[in-house]
Amino acid sequence: MISLSYFLVFAAALFCIGLYGVLARKNAIAILMGIELMLNAVIINLLAFWRFRSPEMIAGQVFAVIVFAVAAAEVAVGLALFISIYRRRNTIAADEIDLLKW
């Protein structure tokens, strides 16, 4: 019988892989991909808690919808920023965008 533990462990693993991507990758878009993985893990957790703990309440799904909206907004702005940075500095490697480190 499938239990809540399956989904929690799976989401934790996905979150940690995403975290590794965010911390270790150089390219800014790759970092954004890591963030997407982490957000997906969060949504899985929200939906798993909704399904296993209180399927009669809709709050869990509403949370997930809001996370989806935030994720879409974040990607749109993030990619626009990267393209803008690329135009000015001709790079999107996170360790080369160091103007403030003078």
């Binding site: 499938i2 911390l23 150089k26 991909m33 949504i43």
Partner: protein
């Protein structure tokens, strides 16, 4: 093992494998394609949680919009030099270690929680979940304020993205 468990395990392995490739593959386009596979796996997970609406939404938003935007951004910001060097920074082993520690800590914390082994409760019968969700999102007694704030956020993101990416000609 039940059919559900088998499906879960296969999906989990494929998804996590895809996720690992997303963060390790050097070629960014390949990373984006692996990301799409991972997102598909997550969509199946939503299906297993009987949230069909989210399965479809995941494909529409993440694969149809986010992943394709990412592929676009990768193609627009390519540089030959970038592909030659290392794709990870110097502290990558530290990042890996931290992720492992966090994973262990999370699993340990979950396992000490009493609700960890909650089994699947029966879904309330004869309820159209999509209808309930839709009503909840727009009813004043429900979640209309978060919903409106999310719409304002999306609008702000739309305008912000246009302003930031605008190419000023002077």
């Amino acid at each position: 093992m039940t059919v559900l468990q088998v499906i879960f395990l296969i999906t989990a392995v494929v998804t996590l494998g895809g996720a690992v490739l997303v963060v390790t593959v050097r070629n960014l386009i390949h990373a984006a394609l692996w990301l799409i596979l991972t997102l598909f796996g997550v969509a199946v997970m939503y299906g297993l949680l009987s949230a069909t609406f989210f399965t479809v939404i995941q494909v529409v938003i993440y694969i149809g919009a986010i992943a394709i935007l990412m592929i676009f951004a990768i193609m627009l910001t390519r540089r030959v030099k970038q592909e030659a060097g290392s794709s990870v920074n110097k502290g990558w082993w530290l990042a890996g270690l931290m992720s492992l520690v966090l994973f262990t800590a999370l699993v340990w914390m979950f396992s000490t929680w009493s609700g960890f082994q909650t089994t699947l409760p029966v879904m309330p019968a004869n309820v159209d979940m999509v209808k309930v969700l839709g009503t909840a999102l727009v009813s004043p007694n429900g979640y209309v304020i978060p919903f409106e704030i999310a719409s304002v956020l999306l609008l702000a993101a739309l305008i912000g993205a246009v302003v930031v990416a605008w190419e000023r000609k002077s």
